[in-house]
């Protein structure tokens, strides 16, 4: 048993090092894939066990005792990471070009698993940093500027976390979660930690985890970093790695929930600190979704979309009810599978066409039908079309938000789902439909491993969509209470129901009826794009008949005021502050202090980051 | 209705004598003012609110630039194909909003390789009129970038159909076939 956890966490790392060492095409792919597959096997094996009792593993490294534990909750996160991880490995078989990528991709895999499984802050922090470092290296390979932006924000997050851990250690004298939790609980009556200190702790940890999750004011690294890594890796980066931040927020609840509640009380019937998280989530959803709609680059679009979807999870956790947690956890899974799928599809498109901008693509559905089908599943799931995993989780979040009487937050979800609809359709239109540029005539279907990877991610989208009970049942068991009722196919909350199977059956029925009507009509004949309504004018293929750029320009025009506000005004203000900062820091810069130099660099880069992206 | 119409051919001879005796009306003052700036032109008054200038073809741009100070609107550019004389007559029709006077500015150019400077820089609308005149008569307006098939299809455009030597009936027969039910060539006037 002890070995299992060890292998689970470190197998990918070892495989990565081996793959890097034997940098031979074929061998490194095989090793890497095996490394990524091992955690899946182990997690599958432990499924029955974790529900009843947790699996522990402790090692002592340099005087510190590192505790790893596989609990029901951890298992869930680890399983999500593992599904995406194996899909990533399959994707990377097709897209990776060197052992370097395998090394760091698998290293971050280890980091993510370690973060999920750690039960003390030492291991948590070390593996967190390992994960950050590995993903940074992945971005660095493609784009130095974006990687630095990511690095700076991660460093800020890490500093915040380290500070938070230090304060906690000072106050409680412990680093393992169980003790800290107990100590903080005890502190409710003792009151050793003041209100200000708890607020500081909350803000520090929120910053640390918010950076990783890409929550609203700290999301600026995400679009660049997501879009500049190897796209197969991004499926893991966005699908699993960002979940570390979400997991952190959950951890915040577990460790400090009671303390924070005691200190800050409630606001209109909501936990005050949770309310903050909910609003951060809601703003993230709206802002990131709006920005996603306006993107012109396929990678940027999904990057912003990832940020927005993680916002949903934060929002759900912020609701603070058990239903909210269930919805959030479900969305962790569905986001991982549909967004991982999206990134693999993107990887396939970029691999086969070499283009990333929407204006260079179009009409690929005929050339890459399987990839298109996978993309369509992801689209349906993301936009929340009923019998899909994306809908089930969103449904739970809706129910949770409205039941908790957070109407405006729920309104943000409504807006976000409309926007999600808009940006996925833009993706569909620009990439798959419309007129095909003549230089894409020779595009072929994506390679087989990538397709298998997509299929691995597509199946859960449908499976957990038709049978959402599979997930909610596990969550019920993990929490030890009946949060969401119903059976495998039916979700029942105190106020609403959703029978996914019935919806599926009725939908199939409806499609069958419609299909019969369709079949009764005349048989179709296929016509080219030039034979369409052009007000009667004859056209040839040389005209550009697809909207390739500025598809949502009217929206940009309607949002004119806001876009201007966030770009210009914000930049000017920051620039003013930056100048002052630069002046004061220049003196310390010349005194040769490396510490201040790095701070200076960090702040300048942060400013650059905020300027460039927000 | 004034009856100031004169046969075109004789006009040239009479205009010179007419120029000095401009009446002291709105129109007279206007013509005088313009003629002072453009002595190469000949000006006359046809009737109330109708004046007329005759300008040599090579100075037309210069003249219209002068005239554009008083005449804000270029109403149209009419081309008349005087086949017998072998000349195109270009009539720039101007309208003065401030004075409420209409002016014909006439000029003649030879029919073969007819070329004129464009007046697009004075009145941008001339682009359209010149395109039209080019299309139907084949006059080339130098400096107009959009000359070419405009209203017509390229095939008709090449024929410049409004020229007097364009044989319309023959062309129609060639293109659409001969089976007209109402055409009899022996008749001089035909029913429409």
């Amino acid at each position: 048993m002890i070995n299992d956890l060890m292998i689970l966490i470190f197998a990918p790392l070892v495989a990565g090092i081996l793959a890097w060492a034997f940098d031979v095409r074929g061998i490194r792919e095989a090793i890497g894939f095996i490394g990524a597959a091992i955690p899946v096997v182990i997690l599958a094996k432990t499924y029955q066990t974790v529900l009843s009792n947790s699996i522990n593993y402790t090692i002592t490294v340099g005087g510190f005792k590192l505790i790893f534990q596989l609990t029901a909750l951890n298992w869930y996160f680890a399983a999500v990471a593992a599904i995406v991880g194996i899909a990533m490995a399959l994707g990377m078989i097709s897209t990776s070009r060197s052992g370097y990528e395998w090394l760091f991709a698998l290293m971050s895999y280890t980091g993510v698993l370690g973060v999920f499984l750690s039960q003390d802050f030492i291991g948590f922090f070390l593996l967190w940093e390992l994960m950050t470092f590995a993903s940074f290296m992945m971005v660095l390979r493609n784009n130095r500027h974006e990687s630095l932006k990511y690095f700076v924000l991660s460093v800020i997050g890490a500093y915040a976390m380290m500070l938070g851990i230090a304060i906690l250690y000072a106050k409680t004298g412990a680093l393992d979660f169980a003790t800290i939790r107990q100590a903080l609980y005890m502190d409710l009556s003792i009151g050793a930690i003041s209100k200000g200190e708890s607020a500081l702790l909350f803000v520090l940890f929120l910053t640390a985890f918010g950076v990783k999750a890409g929550a609203f004011p700290l999301h600026v690294w995400a679009p660049g970093a997501y879009s500049e890594a190897n796209q197969s890796y991004t499926s893991f980066f966005s699908g699993a790695l960002s979940k570390a931040g979400v997991y952190g927020i959950l951890l915040l609840y577990i460790l400090m929930g009671a303390k924070l509640y005691a200190e800050f009380g409630t606001f209109h019937g909501h936990l005050t600190f949770a309310y903050v998280i909910a609003w951060i989530g809601a703003i993230t959803v709206v802002v990131a979704s709006f920005l996603a709609v306006l993107q012109e680059d396929i990678r940027k679009l999904f990057a912003y979309s990832s940020v927005g979807q993680v916002g949903y999870i934060l929002l759900a956790f912020g609701v603070g009810t058990s239903l909210g947690f269930a919805g959030g956890l479900f969305h962790v899974l569905s986001h991982a599978v549909f967004k991982g799928l999206f990134w693999l599809v993107t990887a396939a498109i970029i691999l086969q066409t070499g283009k990333t901008k929407f204006k260079d693509m179009g009409g690929l559905a005929e050339k890459m039908p399987f990839t298109f089908a996978m993309g369509l599943i992801a689209v349906l799931s993301l936009s929340g079309i009923p019998p899909m995993a994306g809908f089930a989780s969103k449904w739970l979040i809706y129910e949770a938000a409205i039941q908790a009487h957070m109407p405006l937050v729920a309104g943000a979800i409504f807006l976000g789902s409309g926007l999600a609809f808009a940006y996925v359709v833009r993706f569909l239109y620009a990439v798959w439909f419309g007129q095909r540029p003549s230089d894409l005539d020779n595009v072929k279907e994506a390679p087989l491993p990538l397709l298998i990877g997509m299929a691995i991610l597509a199946i859960p989208n449908i499976l957990f969509g038709v049978a959402p009970g599979l997930v909610t049942e596990y969550i019920n068991k993990a929490f030890g209470s009946e949060i969401v009722g119903g059976d495998y196919f039916k979700l029942v909350t105190p106020t609403g129901t959703y029978n996914a199977l019935l919806v599926t059956i009725v939908l199939v029925l409806g499609l069958a009826i419609a299909g019969l009507v369709f079949l009764y009509g005349a048989t179709t004949r296929k016509i080219p794009v030039t034979n369409t309504y052009q007000s009667g004018n004859p056209v040839i293929e040389d005209y550009n008949l697809s909207i390739r750029r500025n598809f949502y320009k009217p929206l940009a025009e309607a949002l004119d005021f806001w876009l201007k506000y966030s770009w210009d005004r914000f930049y000017e203000r920051i620039a003013g502050i930056a100048e002052d900062f630069a002046d004061t820091l220049r003196q310390s810069f010349y005194n040769g202090n490396v510490q201040s130099y790095s701070w200076y660099l960090a702040i300048v880069l942060l400013i650059l980051a905020l300027w460039g992206v927000l | 209705m004034d009856m100031n119409e004169k046969p075109k051919v004789e006009e040239k001879a009479e205009e010179v004598a007419e120029a000095p005796r401009l009446p002291n009306t709105k129109e007279g003052r206007l013509v005088k003012a313009i003629l002072e700036k453009a002595p190469y032109a000949e000006g006359s008054i046809r009737r109330e609110r109708r004046v007329e200038f005759k300008v040599p073809a090579d100075r037309i741009h210069e003249f219209l630039e002068v005239a554009s100070e008083k005449f804000e609107i270029l109403i149209q550019i009419t081309t008349v194909d005087w086949l017998k004389e072998g000349e195109f007559e270009l009539v720039y029709q101007l309208w003065s909003v401030s004075e409420s006077v209409h002016a014909f500015v006439r000029t003649r150019i030879p029919r073969e390789n007819a070329e004129m400077p464009t007046v697009m820089d004075i009145w941008p609308v001339a682009e359209t009129y010149e395109r039209e005149a080019h299309e139907f008569f084949g006059i080339i307006f130098k400096g107009n970038p959009r000359l070419g098939p405009f209203i017509l299809e390229p095939r008709e455009y090449e024929k410049h159909p409004f020229r007097k030597d364009f044989n319309m009936i023959g062309y129609v027969k060639m293109i659409y076939g001969e089976d007209f039910d109402r055409y009899d060539e022996s008749k001089t006037n035909y029913v429409i």
């Binding site: 005349a522 048989t523 004949r525 296929k526 309504y533 009667g536 004859p538 | 319309m168 129609v172």
Partner: protein
């Protein structure tokens, strides 16, 4: 779906056996006009659609989309430039489709019988189901023409679309004679230099 039917000449038309009478009745009562007014006659379309004549009583409705259209009203003289567009739009419409020519001009050139830019005999280029004489035909006359076309649809005599498919070679020859071979590409390319 099926790749073999890729042009409308070789395309096999669907035969509805059982419901054909029902469809025929529906076709008769629901004629959608392709919104393409080709000439002066277009001015009588709004009166036809409004209070005094109101052709919507008979299910007639102008529709901008040619794919859904049934009735192509050639409302006046046709210039070659327009005829190209008419042919393209007509071929875009789906069978069964009907053409009604409106006024003297498409019949024999009308007032413009000697004009170099007006097509003299429209039925050389596209099949015609009903022709209304007059310049311009009064709305009553147009309504009568529409009634005639309804009668023809009911009795199955409105078969212009069938004739077009059967005699496509002849129609195509006439069209090519008027416009020159490869006119579609040529016309299509015309604007490339400008945009």
């Amino acid at each position: 779906m099926s790749e073999r039917n890729d042009d409308f000449i070789t395309y096999e038309l669907q035969e509805f056996k059982l419901f054909e009478p029902l469809f025929r009745w529906a076709r008769k009562k629901s004629l959608w006009i392709v919104a393409f007014c080709t000439g002066c006659g277009g001015i009588e379309m709004p009166p036809l659609a409004t209070a005094r004549y109101d052709f919507e009583r008979f299910g007639i409705m102008p529709n901008p989309a040619p794919r859904m259209g049934d009735l192509f009203l050639i409302t006046g003289y046709v210039t070659p430039k327009t005829l190209k567009r008419i042919i393209i739009t007509y071929e875009m419409m789906q069978d069964p489709k009907y053409v009604m020519i409106h006024g003297s001009c498409p019949i024999n050139g009308g007032v413009y019988w000697d004009s170099y830019n007006v097509v003299k005999q429209f039925d050389k280029y596209l099949p015609v189901d009903v022709a209304i004489a007059g310049c311009m035909p009064r709305p009553e006359a147009v309504m009568d023409g529409i009634m005639e076309i309804m009668r023809k649809i009911e009795s199955g005599k409105a078969d212009g679309w069938k004739r077009y498919r059967d005699n496509y070679e002849w129609y195509k020859k006439n069209q090519d004679e008027l416009f020159g071979e490869g006119w579609r590409e040529k016309e299509g390319k015309r604007w490339l230099a400008w945009i």
